[in-house]
């Protein structure tokens, strides 16, 4: 038997295995084979995917495997700093070099990339090759299927991630009977997982023990992610970013100011790195046992549960984010912060082939393998939450919590200009955390800047987009908005 037959046999065996195991991956491979037969692509042709450094370890083995299976040369172009991915992608929209075939970016940048003509709509290919986004046992967790894939009523990306935030806490301390007794004696209520933000704040204060090297919490107030600590309180209070009829900002409202004051009041129980550091500070302090709890992405579960990277392995608990009561009913709002999605470059060599590469990586089995490896991509398909390898990697307790949080999550602002809207909010919240602005000033300055952005980008189109975006919020939030008169019932999609 010649080496060619060996290779052919291996390829066929691989394809056969995948056909049995994963129809989504098989359809992608069959599509690539067809394009190759039709001469659209050729063996050895190079395809380049722009990714963040945090995904290299997860994607590199899969990309190697796909290169082996197809004979294509698939390369990962690694960018070190997240915000640079936006800059480089938008640069490609101007220079149209064709250097990239796929972009793995934050899903709330899809709007900007689509409007700049950089990425192509995927509707026809999704219809043709069916990546099983919405239905079936391997579908995306809802509502991630909407806000990691679509913009303006069209599909522009395949979601690769689930960035619904999780509350990570020191289970050993929270469940310690001595601590519980002291807490109850001091506050007149039991020490338990918080349902409301008010309880969260009390417990943070209780466990803040600088003299023992333990701070109460680590919440992001950094330049890039300050909104992630403010928004869940703001939304749970019934706040909404914009008026759905006029696009006037609604953040400098009593809900917004109160939410910010609450967060800033916790600063005395946190390290200064909450606003001077970056996102990785939580990944340092919490696994080192220096903070009682933190709110971060699911990948922190990997770090904190692994004895090699954590001093508190085995002592970590996972929970939903707290909420607010309205008329006796608890409303939780979990932010889905960034989230990575694969989109196809208009200027790539063969966009359809690039889409099929994305579908293969996104397929239930391949994505599960990728996410099992440590990195910044987290479980987003229903099958991921049943995959034994993946559950073992995340720990059995985290899976159900992450699933619940994802189902209740609300999206980042994903309008045209989303990057600018969020950055302005972040820098003003960060300035408030540094004491350079009062909460009122921070939010009113943001509101003024948002008005200017909306006017510049076209208020009519932004209103239309915002009304579509409202429908991607979880049902209970939309119900709350209607109850509080923030959104007319006919726009809430209830």
């Amino acid at each position: 038997m010649t080496w060619r037959k060996w290779v052919l046999g291996l390829v066929l065996a691989g394809l056969g295995f995948l056909a049995l195991a994963d129809p989504v991956a098989e359809r992608a491979l069959a599509g690539l084979r067809e394009l190759m037969n039709a001469g659209v692509i050729r063996p050895g042709q190079t395809f380049r995917i722009m990714i963040h450094s945090g995904q290299r370890g997860q994607l590199a083995p899969a990309v190697e495997e796909l290169s082996r299976l197809t004979g294509l040369k698939i390369e990962l172009v690694v960018i070190g700093y997240e915000a640079d991915i936006y800059n480089k992608a938008m640069h490609e929209a101007i220079v149209r070099s064709g250097d990239y075939d796929l972009f793995l970016t934050f899903c709330n940048w899809i709007g900007d990339m689509a409007e700049a003509g950089l990425i192509v709509p995927l509707d026809s290919w999704i219809k043709k090759y069916d990546p099983e986004i919405h239905t079936g046992p391997n579908a995306y967790v809802k509502p991630l299927d909407l806000f990691t894939t679509q913009y303006g009523g069209h599909y522009y990306a395949l979601g690769m991630d689930n960035d619904a935030l999780v509350l990570f806490y020191r289970k050993d301390l929270l469940e310690d009977p001595n601590e519980q007794a002291v807490f109850e004696a001091r506050y007149g209520r039991p020490l338990r997982l918080p349902e409301t933000w008010e309880e969260f704040d009390l417990i943070t204060e209780f466990f803040d023990r600088p003299e023992q090297g333990l701070r109460g919490a680590h919440l992001y107030l950094t330049r890039q992610f300050a909104y992630t600590s403010w928004a869940p309180r703001f939304i749970a209070k019934g706040g909404i970013y914009f008026d759905p009829l006029t696009m006037d900002p609604r953040i400098d409202t009593p809900e917004g100011v109160e939410a910010l004051k609450e967060v800033l009041a916790l600063q005395k129980h946190m390290f200064p790195e909450t606003y001077t550091g970056d996102w990785s500070a939580a990944y340092t302090f919490f696994p080192e046992g220096k903070v009682f709890w933190t709110i971060a992405w699911a990948s922190l579960g990997h770090w904190a549960s692994d004895p090699e990277t954590s001093k508190i392995a085995g002592k970590v608990g996972f929970a939903q984010l707290p909420g607010e009561y309205h008329e006796g009913e608890l409303y939780r709002a979990t932010p889905h912060v960034v989230g990575w999605s694969l989109s196809v470059s208009r200027y790539g060599k063969a966009p359809e082939a690039a889409y099929l590469i994305a579908q293969w990586l996104n397929s239930p089995s391949v994505s599960a393998q990728c996410i099992t490896r440590t990195g910044t991509l987290d479980p987003f398909r229903l099958n991921h939450f049943k995959d034994p390898n993946l559950l073992a990697a995340y720990g059995p307790a985290l899976g159900p919590v992450l699933l619940l949080n994802a189902e209740q999550s609300f999206p980042d602002i994903s309008l045209r200009g989303a990057n600018e809207y969020l950055d302005v909010l972040n820098l003003n919240l960060n300035a408030a955390a540094a004491g350079l602005l009062t909460p009122e000033e921070a939010l009113s300055q943001t509101a003024r800047a948002w008005q200017e952005i909306t006017d510049r980008l076209g208020r009519g189109r932004q209103i239309e987009s915002w009304q579509q975006e409202i429908l991607r919020y979880p049902r209970h939030i939309r119900e709350l908005w209607v109850k509080l008169g923030k959104v007319p019932p006919e726009l809430a999609g209830l």
Binding site: R223, T276, N419, E420, L427, N430, L437
Partner: protein
């Protein structure tokens, strides 16, 4: 054929053993070349053409962008609507622009002043022979050879809340004395300026040291003989001699420092808020993070004009001396 210039400056050509005045077209060209101004132009023309080819089209695009309203999300830049000077009008009503400008000027003034004082002091210290001088000079020059990014990371790590600087401070003065360097605009700017001083004092040292080496010993000796003290020698003999070099070094450093980006980007990203944002970072945020390339182009033009004027004022003393 042999050519030379005759007594009256005319080109003479040797033909058949006799010299005669050149009257042909070759002679005219040769005469033209003989004019000093034309010859100078001929020397710089090739490089000027190359530079123009490299500089003019991008500069024209920047001017075009500044006069239209375009962001990548609006579609093709060639179809952007003309808005006249509205980007410039917006710029002059933007408080963040003026703050970024003021902050940059403060960074330049403090940083370059310290670099000059320290660099000059070191140069004077090294302007004599001592054991191990060559090694010391090499060591002093190392920071200048490091990339900005590396220096930024080093100082970011040094000034972290739980970093070495605070460790030293708490060891000496107690835990309560530590400073959260990046939490306020003043302390964050101090950290940035310290990083810049550390990296670029060697440049001022190098320039001053080279200039000092060229000062004739006889001048100093004469001054000493006449009873001048060390300060008087420096003030009236050494400094006037090295002044042109120092002035050029200051202008180069000031222009370079005005463009400061990497250090701030690595250390604070312009934060907290925008309180350490320099002019370059402001342009980067507007142009690249927000995609407002038309507005960023207008800012860039205004900054270019401002820098050119300041540089012109800085160079004027040198030109006067030349005259």
């Amino acid at each position: 054929m042999v050519c030379f210039h005759g007594d009256e400056g005319a080109l003479m050509i040797k033909e058949k053993g006799k010299f005669k005045r050149a009257t042909s077209s070759i002679g005219s060209i040769a005469n033209l070349l003989n004019r000093e101004s034309v010859f100078k132009i001929m020397l710089v023309t090739p490089m000027q053409l190359l530079l123009s080819f490299l500089l003019v089209p991008p500069f024209a695009i920047v001017i075009y962008l500044a006069l239209v309203n375009w962001q990548p999300i609006f579609g093709s830049w060639t179809e952007a609507p003309f808005v006249g000077v509205s980007n410039f009008v917006r710029l002059f009503s933007d408080r963040q622009f003026f703050w970024a400008l003021a902050r940059t000027v403060v960074i330049v003034a403090i940083s370059v002043s310290f670099q000059f004082i320290l660099g000059m002091a070191l140069a004077l210290l090294f302007n004599r022979e001592f054991h191990g001088k060559k090694v010391c000079v090499s060591v002093i020059l190392y920071p200048m050879m490091l990339p900005w990014v590396v220096v930024g990371f080093i100082f970011y790590l040094l000034f972290l809340d739980h970093g070495p600087v605070n460790y030293v401070i708490s060891s000496v003065f107690g835990p309560g004395a530590t400073v959260s360097w990046f939490s306020s605009s003043v302390t964050a700017l101090v950290a940035i300026i310290l990083a810049d001083i550390w990296q670029w004092t060697p440049f001022m040292f190098l320039m001053s040291y080279s200039a000092l080496g060229a000062v004739p010993k006889e001048l100093r000796e004469a001054a000493m003989t006449l009873g001048a003290n060390l300060w008087q020698i420096f003030r009236y003999v050494t400094f006037p001699t090295i002044k042109p070099v120092v002035l050029i070094a200051l202008i180069i450093r000031a222009l370079e420092c005005f463009k400061i980006f990497d250090l701030i980007f690595i250390m604070t990203r312009g934060g907290p808020g925008v309180s350490t944002e320099s002019m370059s970072l402001y342009i980067y945020r507007m142009g690249f993070r927000y995609g407002q390339l038309s507005f960023a182009a207008a800012v860039a033009i205004v900054v270019l004009v401002a820098i050119s004027l300041v540089a012109r004022i800085g160079v004027r003393p040198l030109l006067k001396e030349e005259l």
